[in-house]
């Protein structure tokens, strides 16, 4: 049996009377894409924020590669190789693509006289390399991100997570608010992440997208697990009934 890369055990998070997460167990295996679905307010964003260090749970444990870890901030998660694309798009519109890709991790010179200064040439080279290898359709890494289309901008956010993520990339609704063609680009990008051997957690309300790219589907309902399904052995209606809780599905694993 393969060991889980990231495991959550009995995670609780309450906002006052709201039980955003009510004892959730979650496993992510190396190299898989898992879809995280559920109704609005089911707790999806809260759950991935727990995984990415942006929210500290009230109770429960997090295991990474079998060892307990405490994630107090996004930096903690990043330090162990977990990168996140947040629902509320985390790019800075007036900075260019290169600056956004390297934000918070800028490269500086390596001589005594330039070690405090940005090595823009090296960053542009690296950024162009990442963008090209991910086949994001961008003419130049020197365009301000605010001038890009929604899909390109989302691609930049995804590319940033992929190029820094060493183990896990988490994406919160990366295709929301995108046109058909742009969503396609981002989905292709997600498949390429998997080819790199990274594990992916994908939140989406778009079930066709989830069925297209995921290996398993984890359904959250009102802060608890409603079921986990193997994508290839599941029909959309099974997922829908788990999400809504209207009809109990036979396919619950």
């Amino acid at each position: 049996m393969l060991e889980a890369l990231l495991s959550l055990r009995g995670i609780f998070k309450h906002y006052g009377p709201v039980h955003a997460l009510d004892g959730v167990d979650f496993d992510l295996f190396p190299g898989e894409i898992i879809g995280l679905v559920g109704d609005n307010g089911a707790g999806k964003s809260t759950l991935i924020k727990v995984m990415s260090g942006a929210v500290v749970p009230d109770g429960g444990a997090i295991l990474f590669e079998g060892k307990p870890v405490v994630l107090r901030s996004p930096q903690d998660a990043r330090a162990i190789g977990i990168e996140t694309v947040y629902q509320d798009l985390a790019v800075v519109p007036w900075l260019d693509v290169e600056a956004n890709l390297f934000l918070g991790r800028e490269m500086t010179g390596n001589r005594w006289w330039n070690r405090w200064f940005l090595d823009k040439r090296a960053m542009r080279r690296e950024a162009a390399h990442h963008i090209a290898s991910l086949q994001v359709g961008l003419k130049s890494v020197r365009q301000p991100v605010g001038l890009l289309s929604g899909g390109q901008r989302q691609s930049v956010a995804v590319a940033r997570a992929i190029s820094w993520g060493r183990k896990v990339v988490i994406m919160d609704e990366p295709t929301a608010a995108l046109g058909v063609r742009e969503a396609r680009g981002v989905l292709d990008l997600i498949k390429r992440v998997k080819e790199r051997g990274l594990a992916v957690v994908l939140i989406s309300h778009n079930l066709p997208h989830v069925f297209e790219v995921t290996d398993r589907i984890f359904v959250l309902r009102q802060g608890t697990e409603a079921g986990t399904l193997v994508t290839g052995e599941t029909h959309v209606t099974d997922v829908v009934s788990l999400i809504t809780g209207v009809k109990v599905s036979a396919a619950v694993a």
Binding site: D88, A90, V91, G104, E106, V145
Partner: protein
């Protein structure tokens, strides 16, 4: 895939070029500055003399530019510092007081700068720890710091003593050859600030903070520390300006630099710093302040009454702010 014809791509290329010209934050201001210079030179042949350009125009706008550098950092970071005029007055006053008590020059300078840095830290504390809106926080400290400048001397003027330290102090308001010392300080600060903003990770973080604060926090940057640094730097540059202003005047008045925050912020906005944060450059701030200086000089040379200055500068600020809005629209920002 879009089929692109030569004509289409040429039109698109032209549009790109135009867009980029408007997006270079200080291109428009530079054109404005050149235009105003031509007008003023036509009004008076005295305008384009070395004495006038350095001794009047550059000296006049050096205070606004020096304090403007720190103000620009705060504003690019999405904040605002209304207290710069009061900090200028207070730090100049403290330097003069230290000299008047017989202390050496270096101690007077350090005391003045320390007061500026401390005042900036108070602003930073109010914004980051208490969570006050920057407008409210620095509007309050504008009053507090000005009150302190009056309070510590009970409203009197303080003149540096006629000893070596006092003379060295007033020399800071003088000139090296034809170049006024404040102008030299302004140029040195401009270079340092430009490098910090355009070529260091710190500079990028300032733009990120003003451009998308939530994203900057999620990316793991320490927002509060960054804001604190910005307000302290603003206090420091205001103190430099205030000390030089006092040195130039030869005496510290409690109402020195009163209302200067308007000129400082005007220069910064004219120079292309966005009111909504995330944008702006140091060369732009320098050009913006220079534009104010030339307009002021032109009004004097044309023999117009002083109130024209307020009217004209008001119009220029409105034009600059309008250009800012136009630039935002042009960039059709749709990010959330």
């Amino acid at each position: 895939m879009a089929v692109s014809t030569t004509r289409e791509s040429r039109a698109a290329g032209l549009r790109r070029l135009l867009e980029e010209a408007v997006l270079v934050p200080w291109a428009g201001v530079l054109l404005g500055l050149i235009g105003v210079c031509i007008v003023v030179a036509a009004i008076s042949p005295y305008f384009l003399t070395v004495d006038n350009i350095l001794g009047n125009v550059a000296l006049y706008f050096s205070w606004f530019a020096i304090a403007g550098f720190g103000e620009a950092l705060v504003m690019i970071g999405g904040g605002l510092d209304l207290s710069v005029g009061s900090i200028m007055g207070l730090s100049g006053m403290v330097s003069a007081l230290v000299l008047a008590s017989g202390m050496p020059l270096w101690l007077a300078l350090i005391a003045g700068l320390a007061v500026g840095a401390f005042a900036g830290a108070v602003n930073g504390f109010a914004v980051t720890r208490i969570g006050l809106n920057p407008f409210i926080a620095t509007l309050a400290t504008l009053g507090v710091f000005r009150g302190m400048a009056y309070g510590i001397v009970l409203g009197a003027a303080v003149t540096p003593p006629n000893n070596a330290a006092g003379k060295a102090f007033t020399a800071l308001g003088g000139a090296l050859g034809v170049v006024p010392v404040p102008v030299i300080v302004m140029v040195v600060l401009a270079v340092g600030m430009y490098v910090a903003l355009a070529h260091t990770p710190f500079g990028r973080h300032v733009y990120a903070l003003g451009g998308n604060e939530a994203a900057t926090r999620l990316l793991g940057l320490n927002i509060n520390r960054l804001k604190m640094i910005l307000y302290v730097l603003s206090g420091l540059t205001a103190a430099v300006g205030g000390i030089l202003l006092t040195a130039r005047a030869g005496t510290a008045l409690p109402d020195a630099a009163e209302g200067y925050e308007l000129g400082v912020i005007a220069g910064v906005i004219i120079g292309g710093v966005s009111l909504t944060g995330g944008q702006g450059t140091i060369p732009g701030v320098l050009i913006g302040a220079a534009l104010l200086g030339v307009i002021n000089n032109g009004i004097v040379l044309a023999g117009l009454a002083g109130y024209w200055q307020q009217l004209i500068i008001g119009l220029v600020i409105a034009a600059a702010a309008g250009l800012d809005v136009f630039r935002q629209r042009l960039a059709y920002l749709r990010s959330g």
